[in-house]
Amino acid sequence: MTAGPPVVAPETAEDRVSVASNWRLVWWRFRKHRLALLSAFVLLALYGVVLFPDFVSTQDPEATDARLAFIPVQRLHLFDGARLSPWVPAVAGKRNPTTLRMEWGVDGSRKTPVRFFVTGYSYRLLGIVPAHLHLLGTAAPDGRERLYLLGTDRLGRDQWSRLVHGTRTSMTIGLAAVTFSVVLGVMLGGISGYFGGVADVVIQRLIELLQSLPTIPIWLALSAALPRDWSPQQVFLAITVILSLVGWTTLGREVRGRFLALREEDFVLAAELAGASRRRIIVRHMVPTFLSHIIATSTLAIPAMIISETSLSFLGLGIRPPAISWGVLLQEAQNIQTVALAPWLLVPGLIVILSVLAFNLVGDGLRDAADPYSQ
């Protein structure tokens, strides 16, 4: 017998790996983390909500109606009998004669049908295109039958729609603050690590100084210093800057460390000896090497930003009403008596936990996958 031809399957698999770029290897490794992958989808969904908040909302988040305060969560049923036809039980209020408070109960006799892609209040899609299409709504658009997926707050505002709008603010602020931090961190850390010398010493001392400041009180003090009469947009921007001013230091350190380590790498020296310019060495050799790490670290930094924003707003020093963020929503839950009456006011907190969890899982997955050449 002569030597048979080599087995085909492993050969092609090996070839696939041979020509796989760094990003492909990272993706292959990331894909193996089931939870991280799932979390990535959760985040994608949340950012979808961020892009189209009004489409996902069922009612105008600002619309108040004191008569509709504290309506409890309506359970969404998907099937009516055996037929796929979503509905919610209708609610009926009765004023308690002694406490004079509205008490809401389920009106078992009536079902409010729920339909997809219904018309509702008008808004501007992406802030430009006028639209009034909504993902979910009741079949009767005359306003008599309403949908309260997460109940209402003390002013009768629809919690679901407010939560959707809060998601937009909170998820954006986390991303924006981290982006800001990354820019600051990469620039200052890069200067510090690549050029060294006096710049390095100055930046290192600055980082040490900032890191030994007590973060939360300083955040509070800075936020308290924002003028009362600023517009929500101005406040949003200011809070972003405040969060990132303290947040960039960790990234700066990381980038500096990477630069220092990379300066000693043989392949960087090889590029230098080939006569490559500084710019080329940084752009072609150094940055791609730590980019995946920076992305992982930034992803892990976002949750801290989200929690900080939520805490600040919760204390009344962050995003201010009428702007909506998760922290602002949770302000409604500050009073324990109110929470006991309307526990659904705590739902925004669950979303905070969910999103932070998802960011952490994705970040961990990315970090593990970031260096496909280890081992």
Partner: protein
């Protein structure tokens, strides 16, 4: 001949990875007789270090001993099969360090940096006290320290009194390795496993350490399993040599046979291809074609056949040769010498 201290029979250690099974050690057999130095030589990935870990039963997951026997014999008592002992159990721990001691590869990393060198040796002394000194009062810390100082003196560490209280990173590479040897010898083991003990050390220091080991071996009659990739070191240290490649024994025999009458094509090619001091400068060396395969892409049949100049088509590519005698004290796993085995289908 006295029965061997250690007998490894058809040892198999596999690593179960996500990507597949790595057969790091795949049917290794050899024996170590009292007072004998057995050298295990091979290139990276040949399984020599895993063999060492298997003997000590310290293979880390995902590695696992999946087959074979490791028979360890104490005086005239019946041999113990170490693979049958629980790796973390008391019986195995009583053997580890006391009966079989290890000289690791990197003396820098092999000591804990936050404990003094002396502390780590005193610990070993007191741990196995009852085994090397069955009677007498319990060893006090002070006594153990004195013994450590003596040990240091015996391995040629100057100023042993001060060196005992030093941290490993305060010592030079040579001193660290001497301290490591002192620790390995502290409980008067029957068998010493030296895992590339001089690889991380400069050549003049290496000569000192090799001399020291030779000297101690002669004095105490300790059996040594000496693991290295350096054929020069093995030629100088070992009496019996095991040549490994990709987890299998290619050839084994007395050091003279291996170096002067190698049988296996791998051994022969390896010996010819190493640069040596005894050649005319600037001449081409005979080489072995190709490179060592990836552990997951192990060739079918004889692991060496893709690089072997004498591979028999249809035989070496198909079946794995067994380790069989090729001389009075020499064994090789190669079909060239076992045509009968090659013929039977």
């Amino acid at each position: 001949m006295t029965p061997p201290v250690l007998e490894v029979k058809d040892l198999r250690v596999h690593f179960l990875l996500d990507e597949g099974v790595v057969r790091a050690v795949d049917g290794v057999s050899f024996a170590v007789h009292p007072g004998q130095v057995v050298g295990i030589v091979g290139e990276s990935g040949c399984g020599k270090t895993v063999t060492m870990k298997a003997i000590l039963q310290i293979v880390e997951p995902p590695g696992r001993v999946v087959g074979g026997q490791i028979l360890f014999r104490k005086d005239s008592a019946p041999p113990v099969d170490l693979t049958r002992l629980s790796p973390k159990g008391a019986a195995m721990r009583a053997i580890r360090g006391a009966e079989i001691a290890l000289i690791p590869q990197e003396p820098m990393a092999a000591f804990s940096p936050v404990h003094t060198v002396g502390d780590q040796i005193i610990e070993a002394l007191r741990l196995h006290e009852r085994q090397w000194r069955p009677t007498g009062p319990r060893l006090s810390r002070h006594e153990a320290r004195e013994m450590t100082v003596d040990l240091f003196r015996s391995v040629g560490i100057s100023m042993p009194d001060q060196r005992v209280d030093a941290y490993s990173w305060q010592l030079s590479g040579g001193l660290r390795q001497r301290a490591m040897i002192a620790m390995a010898l502290s409980c008067k083991p029957r068998l010493l496993i030296a895992d590339e003990p001089t690889t991380a050390i400069d050549v003049t220091t290496q000569a000192q350490i090799l001399n020291l080991l030779r000297d101690l071996q002669r004095r105490h009659g300790t059996a040594i399993v000496f693991i290295t990739h350096d054929l020069g070191v093995i030629a100088q240290m070992a009496r019996y040599v095991v040549v490994m490649y990709l987890g299998r024994v290619m050839e084994q025999g007395s050091v003279a046979d291996i170096f002067h009458a190698p049988k296996h094509p791998y051994t022969r090619a390896l010996l010819k291809s190493i640069p040596s001091l005894h050649v005319i400068p600037r001449t081409l060396l005979p080489t072995i074609a190709g490179s060592i395969p990836h552990p997951l892409g192990r060739p079918h049949g004889c692991p060496f056949h893709p690089r072997c100049p004498d591979a028999i088509p249809g035989v070496c590519t198909e079946r794995v040769p067994a380790l069989r005698p090729v001389g009075p004290q020499q064994l090789a796993s190669c079909f060239l010498y076992h045509r009968d085995e090659a013929a039977e289908r």
